[in-house]
Symmetry: C2
Subunit: 149 residues, 2 copies
């Protein structure tokens, strides 16, 4: 946690080239804590709901503004899973992808070196500079598969 806050405080260069920081406010600390504690796959509304219960006056606007900042600083990843909503999770060292159940909404994590190969292929064949690769697999999880049949 500490290192994230340090990173927040020392990340920009101002006009004179000095390193200047983003103030570490109580709200930002709380939100980052919540996202880290959520273990991945939490959306803005749920972050707001949990934050409100600890800090009644926090606003949804602050949640979105903080999420944008965290993204820019590389502290969290934003993923668009399923239909509409964005989900957030703190950045992890190992790349992973998601399986989303269309019936119960459960999100499973999924890892494979093949993703890296796909990215490499895109770079090679299209001279494309890849900044992000997202595989979203939709379907039905083990339990929901049974229930439906």
């Amino acid at each position: 946690m500490l290192e994230l806050l340090v990173r927040m405080r020392n990340i920009r260069n101002n006009a004179s080239g000095e390193m200047v920081g983003h103030p570490v406010t109580a709200q930002r600390r709380l939100l980052l804590d919540l996202i880290r504690g959520a273990g991945g796959h939490i959306d803005a509304k749920e972050i707001y709901r949990r934050a409100s219960s600890q800090e009644e006056s926090i606003s949804l606007a602050t949640v979105y503004r903080s999420l944008r900042l965290f993204k820019e600083l590389g502290l969290v990843d934003e993923r668009r899973l399923g239909k509409v909503r964005c989900y957030y999770e703190t950045k992890r060292s190992v790349e992973h992808q998601h399986l989303v159940c269309k019936r119960c909404g459960k999100v499973l994590e999924f890892e494979s070196p093949l993703i890296g190969e796909l990215v490499a292929k895109a770079q090679r064949e299209y001279s494309f500079k890849v900044t992000q690769a997202e595989l979203c697999i939709e379907g039905y999880c083990r339990e929901c598969k049974k229930k439906d049949s």
Copy 2:
């Protein structure tokens, strides 16, 4: 084209088990034509813009309702590329994925058998019944890469 309309007309079962169809209206014909003619990656607003120029009174609601029907009938695929918008394209035999340029918005198509392997792995390891797999790669295309550096 013809076969798509036939499909639309004969796709449902009513309460008595007879096949009944969705009426083929002028609007649906026009919209399906436009989507097929667009060669992929067209969004609802653009579909509406083009449709309006041929049929002034058509409404955006009809565009969205038709898109939903086409999806349900399996006539078109809906893909969420980049940040927010959905793009539509007529269903093709070969599965493919997309590379989206963050600078100019261009969408490149991308094919690889590795996707199939990933899906197979998900099914195997998680007992997951996969209905859709979408890989969205973001980054910078050849031209924009040059311009930026």
